[in-house]
Symmetry: C2
DNA sequence: TGCTGGCACTCGTCTGTCTGGAGTGCCAAG
DNA sequence: CTTGGCACTCCAGACAGACGAGTGCCAGCA
């Protein structure tokens, strides 16, 4: 009974603090929320909550502020994800449906997420690893220089130049093209790499005159490298940095580390990477994260991808003092719509 | 004679103010710089300079601060571009030489520029318009779906999918490929577009059975669109946003508009676009720019590109109170090295 | 004519003090 | 277990005064 009210008090504190950005006192609390008790009672509850580490006071005679632990409890047990309004849903759908290609989807998602949450949005480009090879094309630009184009089911296209040591005949090129195509097409990336390696005849084996073993090996090497290229895995889109200005001046939070982190994509990837691989929205609050400097920021992230294969992440980074239910709803909604679009495309 | 000293005073004021970020008074000025006159004399000069609008005082009994007009005079007549040290030059060369492709060159340039100047760096990706077509490839993914790959002399590769209304035979594909290749290869973008249009037989003309006129038209349309695609012209890399934190808290400058501008690439392009097309470094100071909100920021930019064809811009955005000689030197140096690399690649 | 030293004046910044008010903790009573 | 009352704490803002950096101006000097 009292326990229940205490949690209600904690919820009220979090909500008020997020809304007003100021420490919330017992009197204001009973006025704004309809808890049917007196300020004195609330004070007792507050003392208990502080004892347990859920809230704290900046100085002796100030109101209370939630701690990381308090937010954690709030997120886990006290809040329900706000459903998006129909209008919002439609807006999301409209904006994302207008995208013309994969890059555009990512760009739009980032903007949208930043606008919806008024936080800094981060969207990871879909990873290669789960996608399949749709097509491989080999083109001779000159007799000793090939262009290899790799087209993946996600819509990503990678191209590489390959310089050969000797000239390649048209017949050898055709042969090479069919061998590579047969080995890789339709396979998922991981399998395609091994299949390609198998397609290279072992050195010393009797050579079909049509096969230019060295050219084949060079092309296969290039393809395998392109497939395992982690640069593409690390690609990120970041948006809404101007939202930082809002929360920078409101309190003594130092924006610099966050601003620096936004340029260090490795750090952002690590932050996003902690997100659950299934469809759930993950929340990482303040000190829970791996970076000391970002202890006053939270990360709300989730995975996305076609057919529930979450093969990339997206999310937002913001102050620990944020509207978690609303933010989580936005992140979840955007992730769902993007997944749907990738599914259709 | 006095005129000369006045300019020396202005120069000293600018240098001191940039270094200390505080209004500079007559006494401190004669102490720090070896002008062989008394503070009183300097005061007279200051009064004159203020009369002419080159400096101003924040309040009655404070030191002087340069105005935009003062910075302008300083940049145009009083400063010499600091030469880079050998070590710096070598560092630039080393970092940029490590780049593996065009994107990487741009990425590295942005980082480098941000580090060197400790400002926000902006680098425009090379424009298509001046580059030539190195190769066009047409690949049939399915009988009704083509992949068109456009390779440009700058190293940029654009690819587009084309859906056909009817199936395309192998012979028609070969024919299409050679027609398109013959028309476009080696031409600069602008000419290639018209050459391609000419390659489409006028409707109603007697048809060679091999020519699939509609497919050809579709492919040509796609190529022309890709060539004139302004999305690629608008691509920008931005870096060093964390440097904003430095100058944000130092004075009452509002960082928000700048932070917003950094996400609006259109605005950045416009700012960069004002840069001179030749090799010179352009400086735009405070109110001289087109945006009211950015009146306390300056832009230092220049063009770059292979063989002095400046076909893209790069530069930095920072507070009007900045080290112009040093910044200009860095911008110029980076532009030169990037140009050289593009020249070699 | 131009430089210089001196002097009075302005005004922002810093420091210390004071006060009002919001908020707390505790206690005794219901 | 809740409530009203009360003493206490401490921040925020206002106010005043001292300080000092810097200025403008003037008279004297080269």
């Amino acid at each position: 009974m009292q326990e229940e009210r205490r949690l209600a008090v904690l919820r009220a504190i979090v909500e008020d603090y997020v809304a007003t950005e100021e420490p919330v006192g017992s009197k204001a609390l009973v006025e704004r929320h309809g808890l049917g008790v007196s300020p004195a009672t609330v004070r007792n509850d507050m003392a208990a909550l502080e004892e347990e580490g859920f809230i704290t006071q900046p100085h002796t005679s100030a109101g209370r502020v939630p701690t990381d632990k308090g937010y954690r409890l709030f997120v886990d047990r006290l809040s329900t994800v706000k459903p998006m309004s129909v209008a919002e849903k439609r807006a999301i759908a409209t904006i994302l449906d207008g995208a013309v290609d994969l890059d555009d989807v990512v760009q739009r998602s980032v903007r949208l997420l930043a606008q919806l949450t008024r936080q800094v949005a981060v969207v990871q480009y879909p990873t290669l690893s789960r996608s399949t090879v749709r097509h491989v094309e080999v083109v001779a630009l000159t007799p000793t220089r090939l262009l290899v184009v790799l087209i993946l089911s996600t819509g990503r296209v990678e191209q590489r130049l390959v310089d050969l040591e000797s000239e390649l005949s048209d017949e050898s090129l055709m042969d090479l093209r069919t061998r590579v195509g047969r080995a890789a097409s339709g396979e998922i990336i991981a399998d395609a790499s091994t299949a390609l390696r198998d397609a290279v005849p072992p050195s010393g084996s009797p050579l079909d005159p049509l096969v230019d073993a060295r050219a084949l090996a060079a092309v296969v090497d290039t393809l395998v490298e392109a497939m395992s290229d982690h640069r593409s895995d690390e690609r990120l889109a970041v948006g809404g940095a101007s939202n930082l200005a809002r929360f920078g001046d409101s309190f003594d939070v130092d924006v610099r580390p966050l601003l620096e982190a936004l340029e260090e994509h490795v750090i952002l990837l690590k932050l996003l990477g902690e997100a659950a691989a299934d469809g759930a929205v993950t929340v990482r609050i303040g000190h829970e994260g791996p970076y000391q400097e970002l202890s006053s920021t939270s990360v709300v992230a989730t995975g996305y991808g076609p057919r529930d294969e979450a093969f990339a992440r997206l999310g937002i980074v913001g102050p620990t003092r944020m509207d978690y239910p609303g933010t989580m709803a936005s992140v979840r909604a955007v992730a769902r719509y993007v997944s749907r679009i990738l599914d259709e495309g």
